[in-house]
Symmetry: C2
Subunit: 648 residues, 2 copies
């Protein structure tokens, strides 16, 4: 491993507050709901068939296999999320469900370790026969992540042992040795799962297999081409060429984020794991270039990536349309995974800034306030009637839905929320970094002086973070991230203001011999600020997006009426922010922000006026009301916009 | 026929000037070029196979039939355009080609009159078996229009006689009588062609057949559904439902322009013919409502229609994206056909204004300055790299191309340009209308006093139109259209200014006893003006489009550099217009306009600045250079924009 390390799921307790509330929501609502969804028990929802497929394979049910070939991945993510929840607090009912799922997986496992509940051909002789599209290793990877998470969270080896047999089966099938397939999965995932496994087992076999999969991708001649020739597949359709699979070149030769956005971030995560373990300079060089491309040329202001539905993919630099954003929830989640691993390679706040941008915006927008409705696609502007009418927005919903036939996103949100504490801190022998401000407590190992840190904060609603050393310490640098959006900040140590605090790579550094009881207060600037995109971004020309703290804001029809294209904001006038409750259509009220930005709005053109005429629009002056983007579409269906025209 | 009548192709001579130049281009370049294209003789162009298919069917060639099922329509349009050119001036080589084409059609005709060079199944027993998609009657309709045009232009009955046999064959096959198919074509066209034929033959059989096809469309149960059941066709895909074929309801019950834009305007043209002949009030009521929807809610400022590639269709009101405009050249041409027929029903300038808007913008943009390159899709904004990258712009080209596999548009432009003189005047017993200003001469029949009118003008480059009565006259009202864009105008009769000229339904009325030598001068206001879209048009919010005379203007990268999204114009500052030559990439120089509008442009964001940052863009003040939209993409490939942000 690289010299900077992360904490485990058991090392961080998330306390009350923004994330604690969400972890409770996951435990009380999301996980039970998703269990039902995966068991096809939600009336009116698209059926999943995930567990039913497993039961059929295990001989416990006699129905017919159907649905997508990757449904096991959703079971894996659900078990992973449930495991994190069990690490947080015991829940016998949930534990029973997890055990039931694990037993089903065991029952469905073949004697040689292979597990696949549903494969397109449903014939055993087709095993590994369609790596390009079959998602066998992808599904296995998610089950493997679940196994690692379950083991780390509960100490139980039940699922881990099942999946170790699965990995042996994979290891026998894949590699450069004679008699093995020299292939890799169309959807990266097994790679990062194997690196995670290696982190638990330390077994070189697992490391080598992970490395093999990363190394082999993109080699020429391309495995997928040979496979297609064998299968008699036709020409690849536009937008689904080798770059869709990140197989256009070997990992070390890639220099930009291409293709399917989720596949990309899963691969780059594995590449970063690989680089951290081996110190491979060529991988790091590739990762740096790919990161620049993703974060500085192809990312939405909400931390979303993937600007096109077809291929769920990147297009070209700066092509970031708001209404046609694919911006898959999973892609923002995967971006968090990748950025976190970049942070382990290089503790620079630019990675943590992206984690925060994605988390509080593009990730959380994927779930309704009550945890039972989900977005797959997260546009930055929507007009419901247009989204319904246009083919180029046919994946875009303007209401979150109960479930998707392919429901990769909902349990992915659950597992990220469940493990959010592990994305807050890193350490090495000399420093402890605080990347994300989450109230609760963290316990560091001996290498970090056995420090216990308690954080109290109402972040992200408020900018004050109080960090108390609860135990341990010794001389080391505490490094607290100063988010790039915070125009200024102040800090105090044990009640005394720190003059000219030192900032390195985006972190305020307080280097001293720490003692229990020491208290560090950080005050970030929570003024509503406006962001402008680079001039290359056609979609945002002449526009600004408002942000408060880590929350990107949006205007909704519920507050501003329709025709939001007519809204202008005045970025030079300070906006007013007020905390308050958002009354959701589901009947609940949730914490929110109501921001009033100075601006105006075009008055509706009078009836009878021509479609195109010489009269410039008339405007009505008045504040524009904004709420956090992630909370959009929790009220009556209507228009929404993040980028707003700038006036004044 | 209604009381207002049009002139025939032989009644109007188009003189030197804008349209005369274009008719010469058609004669000298376009028709020879398209002849080669239809004969697969253009190196590098998509092959047409149109004539080769005919030769194969006629037994003159032994190749294999291929390409689209509607290639005969392109032969029809080419013959029609060539016929108009022959009416203008003799050309033995062209005449020889026309005769060759007609002979081929005759040779390919079956003994019962049926003509179809290529039908999907290529088996005779499938005749009329796929009306929904087969385009048999559509292709026949274009050949029929060609026959009428050839007869009217040359007096020859060669093609007319062939097509009369074809019409007999159609008449035997279709209708409500026992033993006939009660169907209609998926692509309207035969209807308007039959009405045109009736105008020449006066044969009630032709009228009844035309009426049948209009009346039957949209009746329940739907013929297409029955046909699909027979053919075992699956569910219709999204965007290709019955409204795609304007078969969602009977013609008289339709109230908005729906579905495939070209199909729509061809049907509405036939409906207007029908209403003109029969005075059917319910058809007129439907046409009024459909017109409102098309022209006031679903039309681009360039007179283009069809805002989505998939289904080449309308979506919903006010959904008019610039970069994803389908805006097919043929749709603007068909809009001219339809608007012209509305004008015959009701001489109101709003129809002529749309004709002009479409002609000078959305139609002419379909052809390069040298007449050898064509656009199918006419976007109102383009960034070449984005258009190449995005699936939702995959029909959009930023260079005109040599030919299309389905090349409906190029010969459609040619036939409209060739017949442009017939779109200038109408008359009844009391009035002569001048709708479009084209230098040349028109001869009216006895009903209009045998008047001869000579027009001298540099319109559309200049706003002065001189209209001289060359012969005939007597008491009648001359009605000259005042385009809606002309903020003011002045007129003089025989050198004396007309004080407070009377304007009715958009036409200046000069009602007097006319004598040979009378001269009427009209001066329109050619000031560059800015148009604003209604507030519902999201795409144009905060933006303006500049126009001079009938020309909508655009900014091109060639004049303004890249990142045109950063351009702002100041509509309140008068813009400067200068006539001049546009140096085209093809090597020729053509008449053009260069407009300098006051404005500014965002400076490129410096390298290294973040993708999203707190710094508002900086601007460089300076004029924005605009040229007529229809001439875009005649220089180096680059960005283009019609709607520009408004500053000041």
């Amino acid at each position: 491993m690289g010299s900077v390390k992360a904490l485990g799921i058991g090392d961080v307790r998330v306390g009350k507050g923004f994330w604690g509330d969400r972890q409770r929501l996951v435990a009380e609502s999301v996980l039970p709901y998703q269990w039902k969804a995966l068991n096809d028990e939600i009336p009116g929802a698209e059926p999943s068939h995930a567990f039913e497929n497993l039961r059929i394979v295990a001989g416990l049910s006699s129905g017919e296999l159907y649905s997508f070939q990757f449904q096991n991945s959703e079971i894996g993510k659900w078990i992973e999320a449930a495991s994190y929840s069990l690490a947080r607090e015991p829940d016998p009912e949930l534990e029973g469900r997890v055990d039931e799922a694990i037993e089903l997986l065991g029952a469905a496992q073949e004697s040689d370790g292979y597990i696949q509940s549903y494969y397109k051909a449903t014939t055993p002789d087709k095993r590994w026969g369609d790596l390009e599209w079959g998602h066998e290793l992808y599904s296995g990877g998610h089950l493997l992540e679940a196994a690692v998470a379950h083991y780390s969270s509960t100490g139980s080896r039940k699922l881990l042992d099942i999946m170790l047999r699965y990995v042996d089966c994979v290891d026998k099938a894949f590699g450069r040795e004679d008699g093995k397939r020299r292939g890799y999965d169309g959807h990266p995932e097994i790679e990062l799962a194997l690196f995670r496994l290696y982190g638990v087992t330390g077994d070189e076999k697992h490391l080598k297999l992970a490395e093999y999969f990363v190394d082999e991708r993109g080699q020429k001649p391309c495995y997928f081409d040979a496979e297609r020739a064998t299968n008699g597949a036709g020409k690849r359709e536009r937008d689904f060429d080798l770059d869709y699979f990140q197989a256009q070149a070997p990992a070390r030769e890639q220099r930009s984020a291409e293709g399917h956005a989720v596949r990309g971030v899963y691969l780059y995560s594995a590449m970063a794991d690989y680089a951290a373990i081996t110190g491979d300079a060529r991988l790091r060089e590739a990762l740096s270039a790919i990161w620049e491309s993703a974060a500085e040329r192809r990312m939405y202001v909400t931390g979303a990536i993937g600007s096109q539905h077809r291929g769920e993919r990147h297009t070209i630099d700066y092509d970031l349309p708001s209404d046609r954003a694919y911006a898959e929830t999973c892609a923002s989640i995967g971006l968090v995974f990748w950025a976190w691993r970049m942070l382990l390679l290089d503790p620079d706040s630019r990675y943590a800034d992206v984690i925060e941008r994605a988390l509080y915006n593009g990730v959380l927008s994927g779930m309704s306030a009550d945890g039972t409705r989900f977005f797959y696609v997260n546009p930055l502007a929507a007009i419901p009637a247009v989204a319904r009418a246009r083919f180029d927005q046919d994946a875009t919903k303007t209401r979150r839905v109960q479930w998707f036939g392919c429901s990769c996103c909902p349990p992915n949100v659950a597992r990220l929320v469940g493990s959010i504490g592990t994305y807050a801190y890193t350490y090495d022998s000399a420093s402890v970094w605080v990347h994300n401000y989450i109230s609760g407590e963290a316990v560091f190992p001996a290498e970090a002086g056995g420090m216990r840190v308690a954080v109290e904060t109402e972040y992200p609603w408020e900018g004050r973070i109080a960090l108390r050393i609860a135990a341990g310490g010794g001389r080391r640098a505490l490094r607290l991230r100063i988010p790039s959006w915070s125009a200024s900040f102040s800090a105090a140590l044990n009640g005394r203001r720190i003059e000219s605090p030192s900032v390195e790579k985006g972190y305020m550094v307080v280097d001293r011999a720490w003692e229990a009881g020491d208290e560090l207060i950080l005050d970030l600037d929570m003024t509503v600020h406006f962001l402008f995109a680079r001039s290359e971004v056609a979609e945002a020309a002449g526009m600004a997006a408002a942000q408060r703290g880590p929350f990107v804001l949006c205007a909704e029809e519920a507050d501003n009426g329709p025709e939001l294209q007519g809204v202008e904001v005045y970025p030079s006038v300070p906006a007013k922010a007020r905390r308050g409750l958002l009354a959701c259509e589901s009947g609940i009220e949730v914490e929110s922000l109501r921001v009033e930005a100075a601006g105006r709005k075009a008055l509706p053109t009078p009836p009878g006026a021509p479609l195109y005429g010489p009269s410039a629009p008339r405007y009505g002056e008045g504040p524009v009301v904004l709420i956090p983007y992630f909370q959009w579409a929790n009220r009556a269906e209507g228009e929404m916009r993040v980028w707003l025209r700038c006036g004044m």
